[in-house]
Amino acid sequence: MIEVRNISRIYYDTSGLPTEALLAVSLAIRQGEFLSLIGPSGCGKTTLLRLIAGLDLPQSGELLIENRAIEKPSHERGYVFQQAALFPWKTVEENIAVGLKARHTYKEKKSLVPEYIRLVGLTGFAKSYPHELSGGMMQRVAIARALINEPKALLLDEPLGALDAFTRIELQNTIRRIWSETGTTIVLVTHDVDEAIYLSDRIAIMTARPGRISEIIDVEINSRRDRNHDDFINLRRRALEKLHLAGEVYANVRGAGEAI
């Protein structure tokens, strides 16, 4: 459904030195699948996700969604940042309704707001302001805000990275439930191997400098049911080995320590 064909994105610093954030990356994301992007810090995961969102443009290569070129951001591709980036002057329900307001469909679709509040498990917090919410609750709002537009794909950039372990597991379950209830395609960037296995159909492992996709691992349904099951543990070992090959320093990276 989303095709990334041979794209490169190079940043130049102030003295003109290039950083090859992505070099000749290709990836095909299937309709309705859950794909995780995992890799060492600075390998270009955010860059790739922003390109798919249309928030940035590649120097070369093609980006397609349903065979149309991706040129600019669109409500078809919802995006959730690591810091929820909620509008602090809007309540939970107003934040979630932004997509409807922006597209002038608020009048007809008002009734969706409470539905999505329920979907992300925030019933009773409709009138709260962001500063009254915990980090996990803010991410729930950010996810609902992206979902209310019924996007073809939901792009999540480490949405759980800043949360404590307990909240993270809770939200992983919520994301899994949302995925099965809405059937939308999800691309998740994460540092956490367990999270990737637990949630995804496929895991794309990236390498740094230049940023590339080195390997795609298929996750069978059985392996992802239970974190203590042998299949899960084997898959985790395999992924970690690949990651060690991908970047020698991965063991030091935030998130990996807890995953091992």
Binding site: L55, S74, G78, Q83, F87, P88, G99, A102, A146, N149
Partner: protein, 317 residues
């Protein structure tokens, strides 16, 4: 941190019996001094003493109401000091003529004037407040409009920013001669000068608020299907609302100053005009009375601005 100390951040010493006693005794002392010490100057002490007694009665009534009790404690140091100051002033003026008339009328005489001139003072206060809020409202509208244009649009920024910077440093009262000629009445001239006084600081703050909108807000909005128009009206401008209020708060003092000076120089009404008029008659008691009212009026102005601020910024911590 000591939980007892952190428990009440809002009120200072909300349990101090000693200061409360002082707050009741010192106005009472002022009453006693006024009643018992014989007058040297020829004044009517009735109004002054009535005011003090009414004030004491109000304190006692507030004391019986639970929700005002903390506040009463909070202000008791002030009240005690004010009562003491009144007693001393009264003794130095009305009771001994050490500070001489007409330049230093005592509190007795000022209170008398506040009462006997109440109709005139009321009209002048209303006139000044009307001019103040009309001028500030124009300044806010202009300031927000130019601030938004400066912060949002490069082309506008190119022209407006230097203009704001140059005109902004000129004290608004410097325009008084021009304003009095150009505008048909001193009221419109006043509005112009007050708008000028608040325009620039509000415009600067708003431009800053617009320009400092986090990029993530714009990016998120774009992925939600927002148009440029939506980004301006639903993201950038709401993000600048706190700056609007900072601009208003910082320019309120300048506005008030401009108001009084404008009234003193060009107007036919208002507290500034009244001061000038009273001075011409050497009625310094009236001058001090209107200065007192100015202080109170500015407190009310700040209170009103704060009410608006709290309403519009209720989403902040």
């Amino acid at each position: 941190m000591n939980p007892k100390r952190s428990a009440n951040k809002k009120y200072w010493k909300p349990k101090s019996k000693r200061w409360l006693a002082a707050a009741i005794l010192s106005p009472a002392a002022a009453v006693a001094a006024s009643a018992l010490v014989p007058n040297v100057q020829a004044v009517n002490t009735l109004y002054y003493r009535t005011a003090l007694v009414a004030f004491l009665a109000a304190l006692l009534v507030l004391w019986t109401m639970r929700r005002f009790r903390n506040r009463l404690y909070h202000y008791s140091q002030f009240i005690a000091a004010a009562g003491l100051a009144l007693t001393v002033l009264d003794l130095l003026t009305t009771k001994s003529n050490i500070l001489k008339l007409p330049f230093f009328p005592g509190p007795t005489q000022i209170v008398e004037v506040l009462y006997t001139e109440r109709a005139m003072l009321f009209v002048c206060t209303v006139y000044s407040l009307r001019l103040f809020f009309a001028g500030l409202a124009c300044g806010v509208i202009l300031g927000v409009a130019t601030g938004v244009m400066t912060g949002w649009n490069r082309q506008w920024n190119y022209w407006l920013f230097p203009v704001l910077k140059i005109i902004g440093v000129i004290p608004p009262v410097a325009w008084i001669p021009l304003a009095l000629v150009v505008f048909p009445t001193s009221f419109y001239a006043g509005i112009f000068l007050l708008a000028l006084a608040s325009w620039f600081s509000i415009a600067f703050m708003v431009a800053g608020g617009i320009a400092s909108t986090p990029k993530a807000y714009f990016e998120v909005s774009r992925t939600l299907g927002a148009s440029e128009r939506f980004l301006l009206f639903h993201v950038a401008i709401p993000n600048a609302v706190p700056s609007i209020f900072t601009g208003i708060a910082t320019s309120a003092g300048m506005c008030f100053m401009t108001l009084v000076i404008t009234e003193m120089i060009g107007a036919k009404a208002g507290l500034g005009w009244y001061i000038n008029w009273a001075k011409a008659w050497a009625s310094y008691d009236k001058v001090y009375a209107s200065i007192l009212i100015m202080g109170a009026a500015f407190c009310i102005i700040l209170g009103v601005i704060n009410l608006f601020r709290n309403y519009f910024l209720r989403w902040q911590k």
